[in-house]
Amino acid sequence: MPVFNIIQAVNDALRIEMRRDSRVVVLGEDVGKFGGVFRATSGLFEEFGGERVIDTPLAEAGIIGTAIGMALYGLKPVPEIQFADFIYPAFDQIVNELAKFRYRSGGQYTAPVVIRTPYGGGIRGGHYHSQSPEAYFAHTPGLKVVIPSNPYDAKGLLLAAIRGEDPVIFMEPKRVYRAAKGEVPEGDYTVPIGEAKVVREGRQVTVLCYGAMVHTVIEAAEKVAADGFDPEIIDLRTLLPLDTEAVLTSVRKTGRAVIAHEAPKTCGYGAELAALIAERALMQLEAPIVRVTGFDTPFPYSLENEYLPSPERVAKAIRDTVRF
């Protein structure tokens, strides 16, 4: 089985689906001959041509707006927004149009667009190449939000997203684009949207995370395990629809929950997870829920390693929660 990084896995998924389904088109800034700034669409232009791998003008609202129109007509567009930080010019098209087409037309019109976008910090990108805007989209009924942490899931989830009938915000953890490597089956397979995965079984505390933060949490778990702690790690993989059963089953078992994400704390996705646990597993809790998140500041440049949840911060949260 080949070993791929996340970029290669995404690229493989796109190639497989474009070969299988002529309705699939890729569009975005620099996705054509150049193959995307992170090379995720590399080689697709050569294989499928400029009609299906489209370099667009530099306008995110246009990329998503036209992708919606393409999907209405029956194509399966997979637009790329070069950095999640640049997605806001398309916000109206995403939250007011894409998310609502099926509902507002009583099911007459659907726009199953899969928006791929690299997100997250840790690449010395400052405010505008580091943000984690997942909560805005998880807060919008009508959108699915998928965030893989590794190559296997990235390929399988992207194939599932493109084959689905709903719009998907597919956020790719760019800090580990190349660092996260793993065996990826050749050919076709899907990972179901809406299913979390237990990446480390443990008895003492449930650590909920997704995307690049999964790797930080694994590192933290290794640290604390050396001291006899036994955390369970859940990679959510899909934020919406959330696998609530996986979350609640684990928390009911361990009686403790730590939530880690890069996005700012206030109204971040962790708030939703904490509320869910408080609503449905309060009586099983042995300790307060703890969130380890980015701070409520804009994403910084020089101090990004202080801003981002580090393995040490996660490890401390695990220890404190277990000892509470």
Binding site: G65, G69, R102
Partner: protein
């Protein structure tokens, strides 16, 4: 205009019209081929929009309808869709019901939508006048202006990619040309030669805000220049000119020669919506000026000049439409709201577990009774 070495193009500055005051067709015009049957069908369609508007506004004033938007004076712009085939798509804004009717949207569906009742084709999901008619390729309307423009370009572009010769016609008002969506859509269409017809209803007002507060451009049509496409200014109250210009644009789009911007110069004689009082911001005599240029009266004069107008036919149309409206209203008013459980449908292709839980939560509660009536 300061454009060195370039004379203003006639098409971008002159107002293209065909029907003269006496109903005859301008001698040097290029009138479209229009059968007598079609000419009368268009007359009936114009009348239908006017009569429906009059009735629905009365209903709104009586408190029987929550909200309404009328089209008085702009009806001819709706029927530019005569130039389309059924497989072409229309991306409307909220003031082109005639385009939907003409493509087969029934008065019954229209009225049920206004009432948001259990037979509303969009299941009571939107305010009145936000229609959607799949069978007519008339795309679901949203309130934020301009979002339909890049979408229309995407649909047209998709037809091209799919090697079909369907085209998109997108409607918007002159106020919408101030948005980024207009720029983005025009720009993408120009770059990719998308078979898209941009039809701007320049009716003079965006709610209360006049043309000169939207743009310093001497016309809307001239904006086409910067996007590498033709722009034409058409008398929007002249249905023959509207059809002619649209047919030309459609032919160009189908032939692979790309998009066209049509500026339909018209006037919004009524308020923006039933919530609006235009006398606050404009001279009440201004709309009266435009009554003389009424598009329906003008079409009538054209029919007379062609020798196919009969008063009896008009009376018959009026009576048929009137009866249809009465029947549609009687029906719509007695249908209740959509079933409560439908609130959770169509968010996704399937109802996710958590959303199903919310549905069960709502269904377990006693039914909410609004103190304001309705559902």
């Amino acid at each position: 205009m300061l454009m060195t070495g370039r004379q203003p193009s006639s098409s971008e500055d002159e107002l293209f019209s065909l029907i003269e005051d006496d109903g005859s067709v301008a001698p040097d015009g290029r009138p479209p081929v229009l059968s007598e049957v079609d000419a009368l069908r268009l007359f009936r369609a114009l009348l239908q929009v006017r009569l429906v508007d009059e009735r629905m506004m009365k209903l709104q004033r009586q408190g029987r309808l929550g909200f309404y938007m009328q089209s008085m004076g702009e009806e001819a712009t709706h029927l530019a869709v005569h130039a389309l085939r059924p497989s072409d798509w229309v991306f409307p804004s909220y003031r082109e019901p005639g385009a939907a009717f003409y493509r087969g949207y029934s008065l019954k569906d229209f009225t049920n939508q206004l009432f948001g009742n259990a037979e509303d084709p969009i299941k009571g999901r939107q305010m009145p006048v936000h229609h959607s008619a799949r069978s007519a390729n008339y795309v679901s309307i949203s309130s934020p202006v301009g979002t339909q423009i890049p979408q229309a370009v995407g649909m047209a572009w998709a037809a091209k990619i799919s090697q079909k010769d369907d085209v998109a016609l997108v409607y918007f008002g002159e106020g919408t040309t101030s948005t980024g969506q207009f720029h983005v859509g025009m720009n993408f269409a120009g770059v990719f030669k998308a078979p898209c017809i941009f039809l701007c209803r320049n009716n003079g007002y965006a709610i209360s805000t006049g043309y000169q507060h939207q743009t310093a451009s001497r016309s809307i049509a001239v904006k086409a220049l910067a996007y590498g496409m033709p722009g034409v200014r058409v008398d929007g109250n002249d249905l023959l000119a509207m059809i002619s210009a649209t047919e030309e644009a459609v032919a160009r789009a189908r032939a692979g020669d790309g998009p066209t911007l049509i500026e339909a110069v018209t006037y919004r004689r009524a308020g923006h919506s039933s919530s609006d009082d235009p006398n606050v911001y404009r001279d009440p005599n201004e709309p009266k000026e435009w009554e003389r240029r009424d598009p329906i009266e003008r079409w009538k004069r054209y029919l007379v000049a062609r020798g196919i107008y009969e008063e009896a036919i008009e009376s018959q149309y009026r009576q048929e439409i009137g009866e249809e409206i009465v029947a549609a209203l009687a029906h719509a008013e007695k249908i209740g709201p959509p079933a409560v459980e439908t609130l959770f449908d169509d968010v996704f292709s399937e109802v996710p577990v958590e959303l199903e839980g919310q549905r069960q939560e709502l269904l377990a509660l006693p039914r909410y009774v609004s103190p304001h009536g309705g559902s």
